[in-house]
């Protein structure tokens, strides 16, 4: 189940998780994650043949909400939640390089 979590693997996971790690942080994360993944090995000794995966403990059904307009958050309150805005628009960094179409 587990494979060695070398620094390359740690940086790959960090990239997938959108986290930037310093060299020291990556080294520490590698050691700790390895210990935790090693602990998970015990699951491979269980006989799981024929067992259906269980995603949720809901047993009573999940009723759908009525398709009606609910309360609407006013613009100022919504804007205030954003990390950056100019009062009318949410501000985000450029996502396209200069000159691209």
């Amino acid at each position: 189940m587990t494979q060695a979590l070398d620094q390359q693997a740690v940086q790959r996971v960090a990239r997938l998780a959108r986290l930037r790690l310093t060299g020291d942080e990556a080294a520490k994360a590698g050691t700790q994650l390895q210990a935790i993944l090693g602990y998970f090995e015990r699951l491979s000794t269980l006989d799981l043949s024929g067992v259906e995966p269980m995603a949720t403990p809901i047993q009573t059904g999940a009723p759908l909400a009525a398709d009606e307009l609910g309360p609407v958050i006013d613009r100022a309150a919504f804007m205030a939640m954003a990390p950056d805005h100019d009062g009318v628009f949410l501000k985000v960094p450029k996502v396209m390089a200069e000159g691209s179409a």
């Binding site: 189940m1 740690v10 996971v13 960090a14 990239r15 997938l16 998780a17 959108r18 986290l19 930037r20 790690l21 994360a29 700790q32 994650l33 210990a35 935790i36 993944l37 602990y39 998970f40 015990r42 699951l43 491979s44 269980l46 799981l48 067992v51 259906e52 995966p53 269980m54 995603a55 949720t56 403990p57 809901i58 047993q59 009573t60 059904g61 999940a62 009723p63 759908l64 909400a65 009525a66 609910g70 309360p71 958050i73 006013d74 309150a77 919504f78 205030a80 939640m81 990390p83 950056d84 985000v92 960094p93 996502v95």
Partner: protein
Amino acid sequence: MSGPLTSVAMTAAAVRGGKASALEVARAALTRAEALNPKLNAFTQILREEALAAAKRVDDRIARGEEAGPLAGVPIALKDNICTRAGRTTCASRMLEHYRSPFDATVVTRLQAAGAVVIGKTNCDEFAMGGSGEHSCFGATRNPWALDRVPGGSSSGSAAAVAAGIVPAALGSDTGGSIRQPASFCGITGLKPTYGRVSRYGLVAFASSLDQIGPLTRNAEDAALILAVISGHDPQDSTSAPVPTEDFAARLNEPVEGLVLGVPRQVAGSANHGAVNAALEAAADTWRTLGAQVVEVDLPHIDAGIAAYYIIAPAEASSNLARFDGIRYGRRAKTLPGEGLEDLYARSRAEGFGPEVRRRIMLGTHVLSSGYYDAYYVTAQKVRRLIKQDYDRAFAAGCHAVLMPASPGPAFKIGEKINDPLALYLEDLYTVGVNLAGLPGIVIPAGMAVEIEAGEPVSLPVGVQLVGPPLAEATLLRIARQFELATVWHSRAASIA
């Protein structure tokens, strides 16, 4: 009105009966919170103005002869991952340090409608990830019984505030034991309701198939009163069970004669602290004396629960916390000239999340990643099914509740396990399976551990846990209440002043 506030029922009765005003009670709670918080670090914010205004509204209702609600004037504290329009909702994270929610969580709306007065938001492990209360951007919460020890987590501040008599009740959230383990460490009552019993609308999501909000109180009756107010279907949460709330206090005083409690045979083989085993045995004896039958049950996958939980919960967390990227939600790192979007995401998240949250996001990302998904995630989901089936079998065989420890030991020292995440995860042996199976669980005070420190004895509370079938909270509360009537543990209080 001075001194600790310890009873929801008595406070509400005093306010409703005109023996105390809500304003008087709120002032007492706020004064105690402000006096003790420098020692405990239990609150991220004390909401003085908002609390006094809310208390005045309750008094006005009473003065006009209107119904003031079952929790009239009861001061309450809320874990800081529950959204409130008042103050900030930080999740004890730099990522949400300045976040103001534009809406109240359903539990908050229901508490306020019942007359409760929110006095503050409580400290916790960041995004509810942790079992010690140490992983907070506001610093560690301290245990009122011994200030150099952890109060447990992640609902650390909620447990400490109730144990210190600041409020008679607080709300926490429990994803893998985050209400029950701190209740055990702080000598109070903590109830994790059945998955779906309480609306999660407005609870900042950690692991959506496991999270559940519940009360921390000094006794079972108070837990019943709070649960009756916060439970019930909520159209805003599609996972909330379509079942009405109940009068959970109605049958508290019925005897436990004829009820069957099952103790898992696996408990005896586990490396528990001596005081944990002693409390469990003494509790079983007490219930036997009260007429209940105590039998052995088999939960063969109890041990596998930790591994399954620490795959499933981080997997869900990595997905839930993806939204905090500094663009859509959360703290944005200072933009550097020429920096690409991916870099900004990664820097914002690295700056905003603390070490435990980063660790769990990475763990969750790894177990869901291509090539590992089946080996980890699907395997854990199958183990989840086995754990659920173990409990189903115990209940089908006639058990009304499973009786087991809350935690393998009493509160440990602050800093003792902070550098060994796996050691901290192993503390969750008795709690995580209950979340995986979606069952209700209650922890009640049942004994004391005495540790010798520098030649001096230090007394630390120890709880026991009762786990029931889905929606059996009333039975659990009744078993707990009958235990309280026969013992003194729930009336022991930390001597902090």
